[in-house]
Amino acid sequence: MIKVEWLYWLIGLVFVVMAVQMAGDRSNPKRWTSAAFWGLLGLTFPYGTGVAGATAGNGGWTLPAEPLGVAVLTLIVLAGFNFLGKGVPVTTTGAQREASAARLGNKIFVPALTIPLVAIVCASVLDESGLFESGKATLLGLGLGCVAALVVGMLITGEKKVTVPLHSGRSMLEAMGSALLLPQLLAVLGSIFAAAGVGDQVGRIVNDVLPEDSKYLAVIAYCVGMFLFTVIMGNAFAAFPVMTAAIGWPILIQQMHGNEPAVLAIGMLAGFAGTLCTPMAANFNIVPATLLELKDQYGPIKAQLPTGIALLGCCTVIMALFAF
């Protein structure tokens, strides 16, 4: 059975190898601290196996979480105080790329399409086969798709050195910098908020403010609350239990007898509308800006903001009209 931890080790290894390449790259003015950052990030992946094992309590290999916490704070300091630099990318010129595009033609799309194709096959056909750790087929499919695409890509382009894709990937990593770490850190913040009881507090405040027996106000409070709390947390999944325990369940469903699936499904989507509008949802909004090399890191959010607000309106209206 293929385990998801193996994929994490592979990613850790990729980061460590790239860190070694960075340490030797004299064109990067901050090569040592950059290498320390990516190397340390790489090491957190296999170490995390032991920490996750201890949380799950499944008897596997266990390690204490505190040293990993120290490592995470070190990563925050390195990224937060601008210790990350980038070297001159190892790449081809525009003319070379045009020439190779002309030579390879549409064959160059084959490896790019291999990634989703393998991911689909793994997530659908092979999901039930017992080949993958249960519930992890999509993630493992993405990993396997990338490995397969790398092999196919090297065959099609005729590239023989495996260091070439690693150098290219490293340049993209350096261009993204700490944005790459942000989604994972926001997930950490979400769970610390939950452990410290931030959600309970918000629920209490909402209950104090909301007048009784006003269906439309309660619908608005639930949808707008999901939206705003998602904007703050960056994640509708973190907002959902809080707002549902505060308004959705006790008021909309129990008191006003709303249709349960309608209230819950639409409430979650009001949160998704919020995800479109916030830098806290870094992996959807900030990471694309860095990947696309935009000067304005809020470009994607600006493109999505009117849609997000309009969809919040749709959620509120649809829930008010059809859920009761």
Partner: protein
């Protein structure tokens, strides 16, 4: 009440445009300590949740492949390809991508796209090529940013408002898991997925319309830019 200061730290940090990594780190420490955890517990909480959220960084594994292909002209070929496809404007192309992304996500295929897998190597260059062909001139930097931002938005809106129509997706399972265990209900994922359909339609209509409007804005701004900077006008426009 006092733990809400962590939320305040986050909001202030982003409003004053501090380094986001630092903001998140400080907010985490502040919230943990205010929530009556001791420093060792805060460290352990950082470590444990960092280990549990490793899956969100998995997309980094895509970078070497895309890097290799870009080196060999992937983006250039994506532009060439779209250059041959008839009358497709950037807005129409992105509307088609939005629809494809929604429909495939609704069938559970949500890793088929993404900013690293599809938007950077394929969608954004194609949209730029389409915009340049339909306006007949090279895009100035600001409009190029706009087309790229809208490319990212088509991907994100598509996956968000498509995936909930599929029953085995995280958000649907989170709803049933939370409600069924907390309130002892027996809600089926299919009932929830049904209610996601009207909003998927709204999302397509609203964002699709905005993508098509982007074409008009591009044309208008290109015309202004051409007038100001003497850029080459589209063929036949000045006769």
């Amino acid at each position: 009440m006092i733990v809400l200061l962590g939320v305040v730290v986050v909001i202030l940090g982003f409003v004053t445009r501090r380094n986001p990594v630092l903001v998140v780190g400080v907010a985490g420490i502040v919230t943990g300590l205010l929530g009556k955890m001791n420093p060792l517990e805060v460290l352990a909480a950082f470590g444990r949740s960092f280990a549990d959220s490793r899956s969100v960084t998995v997309y980094a594994i895509v970078l070497p492949v895309i890097g290799l292909l870009e080196r060999y002209g992937l983006r250039e070929q994506a532009r060439n390809l779209i250059g041959r496809l008839g009358k497709l404007s950037a807005g129409r192309f992105l509307t088609v991508y939005l629809l494809v992304r929604q429909v495939t996500a609704a069938f559970g295929l949500n890793s088929i796209g993404g900013p690293a897998q599809t938007v950077r190597p394929l969608v954004a260059p194609m949209a730029e090529a389409a915009a340049e062909r339909s306006t007949g001139a090279k895009l100035p930097g600001r409009l190029r940013e706009k087309v790229r931002s809208y490319s990212a938005s088509a991907d994100t809106v598509g996956v968000f408002f498509g995936e909930d129509c599929f029953i085995a997706i995280g958000s649907i399972l989170l709803i049933t898991g939370f409600v069924n265990s907390t309130y002892h209900q027996e809600i089926e994922p299919t009932q929830l997925a049904l209610w996601a359909i009207p909003l998927a339609v709204c999302a397509f209509v609203i964002h699709g319309a905005r993508l098509l409007l982007m074409d008009k804005q591009l044309e208008r701004e290109m015309a202004v830019a051409a007038a100001e900077h003497d850029l080459p006008l589209p063929e036949g426009a000045d006769k």
